[in-house]
Amino acid sequence: MKSKKHKHGFKVPKGYFQNFEEQLFAKIEEKQLPQQSGFQVPSDYFKKVEETIMKRLIVSKNPPKVINLFSRRTIGYAAAIAACAILIFSIINHTTTNFNNIKTASIENYINDRNIDIDSYDVMGLLNDTEINDISFGTQLFSDKNLEEYLLENMDDTTFLNE
């Protein structure tokens, strides 16, 4: 074999010729792809965006004042209002449920006016034997005449026959 005529001294990167074809065809393929992306941008956008960014920076440097809802003063006011509400509520409840202040005569009239449906047996159930024996009935309701008339009107003859 003939030796090379001259030494030029040039070198190539390692693996260059092995990879050359692959790189060449990749380049050719790339050139066949669409060259434009198709993306558009609104007119004047790039002029306006600078100011938009600077305004946002000013806002971020000076954040709006945040009012703390849970400050000592606010909590104090809320506690005072709650205490007043509790006080008022307890007073209202105290006056409306104190039956001891209602006069006995008022209760009697309330019952006699048939504002409440109370059966005598309900009342008897609330009394003990001593209290029952102490009850004194007005005699005018049980005069002999009234009693005789009642018995004649309401008694069943058969009751006596069975006695």
């Binding site: 692959e22 669409p34 198709g38 965006v49 960014i53 946002r56």
Partner: protein
């Protein structure tokens, strides 16, 4: 590089920060916009992410150590904000990121700020079918003017890995466009 150093110094100085930041926004708003737009697709969403990106840059510029180029650092923030945005939206809609992106691409058909024809829509659909990292590599290399070295810094991936990713992406996309005649 000297110009960047001067800008960073001004950005990290309390008295010059605001004016330097205005200059930064003016210089990079379009590049960052289009980078974000390629990821989130919709103009309004891009606007949100772009603003959030610059706010984040402003708030964190004091922590920038100069380990990378300033614009590399900003691109990284923009990329992360874009991906976070999509992930949040997908989670809120209770769908996968893939499903969310598919819906976003379908919406391009009626998007007033999209004047692409069928082939551009198909291209977006093809890109959406790639793995997330590959999508990013393809979009940044194909639609933007980054070298592999710049991409390597931004995406924290080796140049070789990026080249491999990109060529595989091109193959897959070409195959998709050939086999999907209708869209």
């Amino acid at each position: 590089m000297v110009e960047e150093e001067v800008l960073v110094t001004a950005l990290q100085s309390p008295q010059d920060k605001e004016s330097a930041f205005r200059s930064l926004v003016s210089q990079y708003k379009e590049r960052l916009y289009w980078h974000i737009r390629k990821i989130v697709l919709n103009h309004d969403d891009t606007d949100d992410v772009l603003q959030n990106t610059f706010i984040k840059i402003f708030k964190n510029i004091d922590a920038f150590k100069g380990d990378s180029k300033l614009y590399t650092w900003m691109y990284r923030i923009a990329t992360n904000e874009s991906i976070t945005f999509i992930n949040k939206r997908a989670k809120k809609a209770n769908v996968t990121v893939g499903e969310y992106n598919d819906a976003a691409i379908n919406n391009l058909k009626s998007d007033v700020y999209f004047e692409g024809d069928i082939i551009q829509l198909k291209l977006q659909k093809a890109i959406a079918g790639l793995p997330e990292k590959q999508q990013l590599v393809f979009k940044m290399k194909y639609f933007e003017y980054h070298t592999y070295e710049e991409l390597s810094e931004i995406l924290d991936t080796s140049v070789g890995g990026l080249k491999s990713n990109y060529h595989i992406a091109v193959k897959k996309i070409t195959e998709f466009l050939k086999t999907n005649e209708t869209f």
